[in-house]
């Protein structure tokens, strides 16, 4: 054998050994949990160990569609999930508009200031967002104090315990946290637009709104499209942190999205097996959604985003 190739091959093996520990971490923390899906086919009640005796087959999956109590709960959860994701997707153009008009501001210090300040909320945790909400909207907080001193109300409003408009308020918190940061992507895209296009449009007498409509928006639509597809792919994954910290006995019926429900089911009532079954269904549907979104992307733009 060619000694040079042999040496190179040997180096390849050695290099693989170097990355093996990290590959092992990926195997353990990303692939091995998939093995946990088998809990969905057993009647698993910790701390008792799992044995073949409590193998129940598809019992839990069937209970998700047959047990009337479960079905009703799941319908509510799906309604909440669809509402939250639906509102988010329906307003997904907001960061784009935010970026476009921010770009129209000619006074640079103000622009930089707005950009810096509005991205801060993205970097604080949901617990801190909840803390901010609590400190400002609780019964002795600033908002109630202001409303009472202006004579608009006589008794403090319990904003956080409200059972109405939960979707709207949760969407508002989500937007408060994300809007500025989500706009950064579009600001980057706008920076990439050829300045000559705008110059040419100016010479032709295009107004500012016309320049936005005929140059800026078409140039950043591809970015919007990719982000929209990603949003569709994660339609079922609202995450649980936001809803967990804001949940209470009063708003539970409207706030419990799928991720939170799975968590509450397992950690709250100890139904590990049912929630694993639900987790599993969710993961599979999410992958299908990802493929669908990618397929649409291929069809429309001729390139995949994966």
């Amino acid at each position: 054998m060619n000694p040079f190739r042999n040496k190179r091959k040997l180096r390849g093996y050695k290099e693989f050994l170097y990355i093996l520990p990290f590959i092992a971490l990926v195997a353990v923390f990303a692939y091995y949990p998939l093995y946990g899906w088998i809990y969905a086919f057993f009647d698993y009640r910790p701390p008792q160990p799992m044995t073949m005796d409590n193998f129940v087959g598809l019992k839990w999956f069937k209970s998700l569609v047959q047990n009337q109590v479960k079905v009703n709960q799941i319908l509510v959860v799906i309604r909440n999930t669809f509402a939250m994701s639906g509102i988010t997707i329906a307003t997904s153009w907001l960061p784009m508009i935010f970026a476009i008009f921010l770009n129209e501001i000619r006074f640079m210090p103000f622009r930089k200031f707005v950009q810096t300040i509005t991205t801060i909320p993205n970097f604080i945790s949901w617990v801190l967002v909840y803390s901010v909400a609590f400190n400002i909207f609780n019964s002795t907080g600033m908002v109630n104090h202001l409303l009472i001193s202006m004579g608009l109300i006589t008794k403090p409003i319990l904003f956080l315990q409200a059972s109405d408009h939960v979707w709207l308020t949760q969407w508002l918190w989500l937007t408060w946290k994300n809007l500025g940061w989500a706009a950064i992507m579009y600001i980057a895209a706008i920076t990439g637009i050829d300045e000559e296009l705008y110059e040419a449009a100016k010479v032709d007498g295009a107004t500012r709104m016309q320049r936005i409509r005929f140059i800026t928006i078409p140039s950043i639509l591809p970015t919007y499209f990719v982000l929209l597809m990603l949003a569709i792919a994660s339609f079922l994954s609202n995450g649980m942190e936001q809803y967990y910290v804001f949940q209470n006995a009063f708003n539970k019926n409207s706030i419990q999205v799928l991720d939170l429900y799975v968590f509450n089911l397992a950690m709250g009532s100890g139904s590990y097996s049912v929630s694993t079954a639900l987790s599993m269904l969710k993961s599979v549907i999410s992958i299908v959604l990802l493929c669908v979104a990618n397929g649409i992307s291929k069809l429309v733009r001729g390139e995949s985003f994966l």
């Binding site: 990355i19 129209e104 509005t118 970097f123 901010v132 970015t223 992958i287």
Partner: protein
Amino acid sequence: MKIRIKKIHQKQSAGDIMISVTTYVLYAIFAFVCIYPFYYIFINTISSNVLSAKGTILFLPKEIHFKNYVDAMRIPGLLNAAMISVGRTVIGTFLTVIATAFMGFMFTRDSLWHRKFWYRFVIITMYFNAGIIPWFLTMRNLHLTNNFWGYILPVIVSPFYIILAKTFVESIPKELQQAAEIDGAGTMKVFFRVIMPVIKPIMATVAIFSAVAQWNAFQDTLLLMTDDKLYSLQFILYQYINQASSLSSLVNSSSTSAVAQSIATVQTATSIRMTVTILVVGPILLIYPIFQRYFVKGIMIGAVKG
């Protein structure tokens, strides 16, 4: 000719001024909404606790004192939680940065045994997950519940950061590595002597992202830790928000000179909540403006690739 140009210019500026004024006002309002809550909470922590409990401090602190921050040290568990949070942030960030840089480099080595396969093996984990309950059960099987390493090990290898690092390493001229290899440098030497010094910018970006993620993490404590010695600041803050009133009496009674305390500095539920909030959010608010460009750089490289 001259007159016509002027006319167009005037027509534009009428519309322009309208748009400008509206955008300036809207952005100013949104920026205010993003930053004011933090300012509000901060001025309340240094004002008279009697006034802050009523929600009357809105724009300027009154009867300034800093006793709340001294008293906060007496809140049971706070110092320990701070150590856990700092510990996981420092250790976790360090290991993540090293792993990311190394993997990013190794995945550019053509000689690596089955390079393409292993790269895909790692990257594909971005697009699926088993769900939190199977993940939790796996972590328990691995004895990573109630274990500090449960905070660190799962996040050392992150596909997204590896893409960032790999893209960056690919932009470095191959000749640099080749020259070192001709001089007899092995893979590790090339990494430490040639690659590490030039990829500092991307490592800074990864470091800042992973530090914020570690500092803000809440869900892993919620799932994995029942031992209060391992609670992080975020988790403890969440507990405090819900039980601050009992804590305030505890802190007041353990204060040595409780009788001599002026009423303005006696801890109230509000003062405890707000002080801990500032302690938890403080580091983020302090480092964010300094490192903002690294955050923005990170998302922009990610956008090009992603």
